[in-house]
């Protein structure tokens, strides 16, 4: 029986070897990359549309953090997959059904209240998730999470302070924030949904338990809302499906725009 030589010896080992459950890990990594890319794309739409210049810069910073995170994650997903796909193959050569982002990330940017309320709902989850992911047994993912956590902490401080300004600002800002909360509430449940794949990764200590983050998230949410004199709807549905590629119509429009140039002239380097 012929023995295959390992592709790299101990000295030449790649910094992050591909674990046993590589294909599950690749799916998770792609999910997280998709969340970051799609949210970053939405945030970047604010460029030249922000309410004042300082906010223009802050929104661009947040978008840049998201894009940076997406790029690290896609690169890692490509390596795990081992088919030679790079970050741009993931971003530009897939249709909506192949994207696995959370639906909350793809909703149109709406007004400034909608964008910042979404950011707060996502950031307050994201910080908890990344904190747990930074302890992942997968070193590559843990490393990306640790870096992203510093950025997410800052995003959360910012979006949380906007919640207070909206809620305690004027009648109009309160009304707009309240509308945004009601519109976004049904999309928050998806952030805490575990499926079979992530459950397997949880067993291996790779993926965090999303469901376990719900209570701490709700505590932070209710504290912030109460300080901002805002309220959570008494009952809201639960809309999900992004992880399975079932998206709102908004993702298709987003991708039509994002992929316009590469679809018109496919297969080229830019």
């Amino acid at each position: 029986m012929s023995r295959r030589l390992p592709t790299a010896g101990p000295q030449g080992a790649r910094p992050h070897a591909i674990p046993r459950n590589g294909s599950d890990l690749c799916v998770l990594t792609t999910r997280l990359a998709d969340d970051a890319l799609i949210l970053g794309q939405r945030l970047s739409e604010w460029c030249s549309n922000a309410p004042f210049l300082e906010e223009e810069l802050a929104l661009a910073n947040t978008a840049l953090d998201c894009l940076g995170r997406a790029r690290f994650l896609y690169a890692r997903a490509g390596m795990l997959e081992g088919k030679g796909r790079d970050e741009d193959d993931f971003a530009f050569a897939r249709g909506p059904e192949a994207f696995a982002n959370l639906l909350i990330c793809e909703l149109p940017r709406g007004d400034f209240a909608f964008t910042l309320v979404r950011q707060f709902l996502f950031d307050s989850f994201d910080v908890l998730y990344l904190r747990a992911l930074a302890d992942s047994t997968d070193d590559a993912l843990a490393g990306i999470a640790a870096k992203a956590l510093k950025e997410a902490d800052y995003h959360l401080r910012r979006s949380q302070s906007w919640m207070l300004r909206f809620g305690q600002g004027t009648e109009e800002s309160h009304r707009r924030a309240q509308l945004a909360i009601s519109a976004l509430a049904p999309y928050t449940g998806e952030m805490f949904e575990m499926d079979v794949l992530e459950a397997r990764l949880l067993t291996d200590g790779i993926a965090p338990d999303r469901a376990a983050l719900k209570t701490p998230w709700q505590i932070r949410l209710s504290e912030t809302l109460s300080e901002a004199h805002l309220s959570w709807p008494e009952s809201c549905g639960n809309i999900s499906g992004g992880r399975a590629g079932r998206h709102t119509r908004h993702l298709e429009a987003l991708l039509d725009e994002m992929q316009a140039v590469t679809r018109e002239m496919p297969g080229l380097s830019w």
Binding site: L53, A63, R71, L164, M258
Partner: protein, 308 residues
């Protein structure tokens, strides 16, 4: 002991000695007004300039290009911010400057009244428009007003990265497919002349030039700066393998500079006067974003009042 010098004499002496004028120093009213005009126009140019490229961030054809372009356009906003602050040291406010922009009293660089139609245009803007801006801004690092000069030092550092990102886009296109090369050539064809117009009218016809030169707000003339830009850009175009759309362009051994054709000054006047392809669109966009954001600014002020 010599008789006490007047404010005017002290000011003139400091200008003659190439000293910087600072916000708390006495300055002639005309100097102050001229600076407010120029610095606010510069700030508005940065901010309006975010629109043509900003519209391509969502369509940039790779994640790296998207990231770099977003960072670049963000820098332009940052430049707008330092420049508004520099102008505020002269006794105006950002709100007043924005009103002047939106009502058409204040101008911004006319180049941004041309449409950004393709990914090639994003490259050409970085390469040519930022390239022309750097030539102008390097000269302004020596301007006599301290806050403006210091803003220019900081801005020039970032602009050279902007120009490189534009040139890198062009280089990539020119090393690419036939379609990509055509895209790059088309962008150069459309952006070349407007870029030369960025330096303004000939020295003899420039409304504010002579006073600005005397006060050392401007340090080099429009025509000198334009020549410098042409001289540095022609070899860059040659390296790309692109043709500059000017049949009169040729190296003049005697002068040690490139000769080039005459700008279409009627087009220049038309675009400055407001009849360029995108003047109305740029201002409408600015007004809409500003009006859409009014409730946000109000909310922020109300919140700050409450927590004072």
């Amino acid at each position: 002991m010599s008789p006490a010098l007047s404010h005017e004499e002290i000011f003139a002496g400091r200008i003659a000695a190439d000293e910087r004028i600072e916000p708390k120093d006495w300055m002639p009213e005309g100097y102050r007004r001229n600076l407010i005009r120029q610095i606010s126009q510069h700030a508005h140019s940065e901010v309006i300039g975010m629109q043509p490229e900003g519209a391509w961030i969502t369509r940039a054809p790779s994640l790296k290009r998207k990231t770099v372009l977003l960072a670049k356009v963000q820098d332009e906003g940052g430049h707008g911010l330092y420049l508004y602050s520099a102008a505020e040291t002269l006794g105006t406010s950002r709100e007043e400057m924005i009103q002047a922009l939106q009502s058409g009293r204040a101008k911004y660089a006319s180049i941004f009244n041309y449409p950004c139609m393709s990914w090639g245009d994003v490259g050409a803007i970085g390469w040519l428009v930022d390239g022309a801006a750097i030539v102008n801004q390097i000269s302004l690092q020596q301007t006599s007003y301290g806050p403006y000069a210091r803003a220019m030092v900081r801005i020039c550092k970032e602009e050279s990265f902007h120009q490189r990102q534009g040139y890198d886009i062009m280089l990539n296109l020119c090393r690419g497919s036939g379609e990509q090369i055509a895209m790059a050539q088309d962008a150069l064809d459309r952006w070349w002349w407007p870029s030369l117009m960025m330096f303004g009218p000939h020295d003899a016809e420039s409304a504010h030039s002579s006073r600005s030169m005397a006060w050392k707000i401007k340090r080099q003339s429009n025509d000198e700066l334009r020549q410098k830009f042409v001289d540095q850009t022609v070899p860059q175009a040659e390296f790309l393998g692109l043709r500059i759309p000017d049949p009169k362009l040729q190296w003049n051994e005697e002068r040690g500079h490139y000769d080039f054709g005459e700008i279409d000054w009627e087009e220049f006047a038309r675009v400055v006067a407001g009849d360029g392809p995108c003047n109305a669109e740029r201002i409408d966009h600015h007004v809409r974003a500003h009006e859409d954001g009014a409730w946000v600014r109000k909310a922020m002020l109300a919140y700050e009042e409450r927590h004072r």
